[in-house]
């Protein structure tokens, strides 16, 4: 059993790592990680914009975004993926690669999810910081940018990491629209071997587990550190996100 697994790894490690590349599209674990990282990198700024829109005093910004967030969070991710897969080519008339379809869907889904985290982080700071910023003459957006968001986003670092972990898990759903990721590569291996599905999918599970577990571990460590710092001393933190020294660039 263990020897079967070692043999499979020995024979197929490159396929599992990068898919058909360079003879075909990049796939395997590399593609899974790229897809996850791109999703979160794009979803993060979008989530800030969505959160600000939801906190806006203008209904015209608040309403559409609230609907978007509720719909996105109320529908299974698989539904969203299938919708994008069938609807986007219909609407645009273009043949969209499955990678792009998956990426777009994940960005919308995680963007909506993270926006709620950002919003909660902003609300949790209370009114005092906004009052202080406004009283000094900062604009609303200036107060957000230099005072509220650096604190809220710093406090959010663990949540962002957790979202990254769930994004990695979510990319497996790309299998249904043939995104060439790690899961896809594993099923290719399985199709070639035919007789060892248990071994193949055990490898798959172990790889996902190792990645997600280590990231979750880092998230927990960070969370504890942030809680300690928020509690009082040594608030040196913000260097991570906010510039520690104020730079000369003007808004």
């Amino acid at each position: 059993m263990i020897s079967d697994i070692l043999v499979i790894i020995h024979d197929y490690w490159l396929l599992l790592l990068i898919g058909q590349y360079p003879n075909g599209p990049l796939g395997g674990l590399a593609n899974t990680l790229i897809l996850s990282a791109l999703s979160i990198a794009l979803a993060f700024p979008i989530s800030i914009v969505l959160a600000l829109a939801r906190l806006s005093k203008w209904p015209i910004l608040r309403w559409p975004v609230t609907v978007l967030v509720y719909v996105t969070r109320g529908v299974p991710l698989l539904m969203l993926i299938l919708w994008s897969y069938f609807l986007v080519p219909l609407l645009t008339g273009a043949d969209v690669p499955s990678f792009i379809t998956m990426l777009t869907t994940l960005v919308v889904y995680q963007g909506a999810f993270l926006s709620e985290v950002v919003r909660a982080g902003i609300v949790a700071l209370g009114n005092g910081q906004m009052d202080a910023g406004r009283a000094l003459g900062h604009s609303y957006l200036g107060t957000m940018r230099y005072i509220i968001l650096p604190q809220a986003l710093y406090n959010m670092i663990p949540s962002i990491l957790s979202t990254f972990v769930s994004t990695i898990k979510d990319t497996t759903l790309g299998y249904v629209i043939n995104v060439p990721d790690l899961t896809f590569a594993a099923s290719q291996v399985n199709n070639q071997l035919l007789t060892q599905p248990f071994q193949v999918f055990l490898i798959l599970a172990l790889v996902y587990y190792a990645i997600c577990w280590s990231l979750t571990y880092v998230a927990h460590r960070l969370e504890r550190r942030i809680t300690r710092r928020r509690a009082g001393l040594g608030v040196r933190l913000a260097a991570v996100i906010a510039p520690a020294k104020i730079v000369s660039e003007q808004s």
Binding site: A132, R134, A135, S139, V235, L237, S248
Partner: protein, 254 residues
Amino acid sequence: MSTPELQQDLHAIRISKVSKRYGDFPVLKEINAEVTRGEVVVICGPSGSGKSTLIRTINRLEEINSGSISFDGRDIHAPMKTRELNRMRSRIGFVFQSFNLFPHLSVVDNVAMSPIRVKGVAPDVAHKKALLLLDRVGLADKANAYPGQLSGGQQQRVAIARALAMEPPVMLFDEPTSALDPEMVGEVLAVMKSLAAEGMTMLCVTHEMGFARDVADRIWFLDAGQILEIATPEEFFKHPRHPRAQRFLADLRH
């Protein structure tokens, strides 16, 4: 017209017929009062009488339902571009009961940030100025500390320096010592006294009657959303005219 200029010379702030409701509840009822340049006014009155609300309407942290508040010869509650409002606000220093320092910035950056971001002051100039202001409130050695590392009294002194960094002609204080341990009240009041001595126009909500007696030019007594008495400290403490003011002072002396 020359009258507005004249007014501008005499009055830092003129509050005219200001009313405000929270739902059906009237918090401020037709308030009329003015602060002349260089004057130190102490606002006192029982808890819930509308002191915080009143002082927060002056820089429009609170909206009002009717009336006007003129500052710099302009009604800050008139419809205006937000940019204009921000500019007016930046000329009114505000010190909060709960300090509201920016915990993610060092002390010196707390003080220097707004001149840089709001007024476009060069960072090195702003930092030098911030250090001078910190020295003035006795905290030059804490420039690189973070707010979470300071005592309440130190934080409030930083908050005063932060407000002063914008070079406002007027400073508003909303119970600046109420959140402090008793042993720290003195250091904050000392900074406020020195400001008053330099001729700063100040409007302070405070229960520190010693400060009111020593420093205030006039006292406004607020009760249930109305200013019932405006008097010099001497008149107010010796011969309060209004029965509510008499009761308020009696309660303070218990």
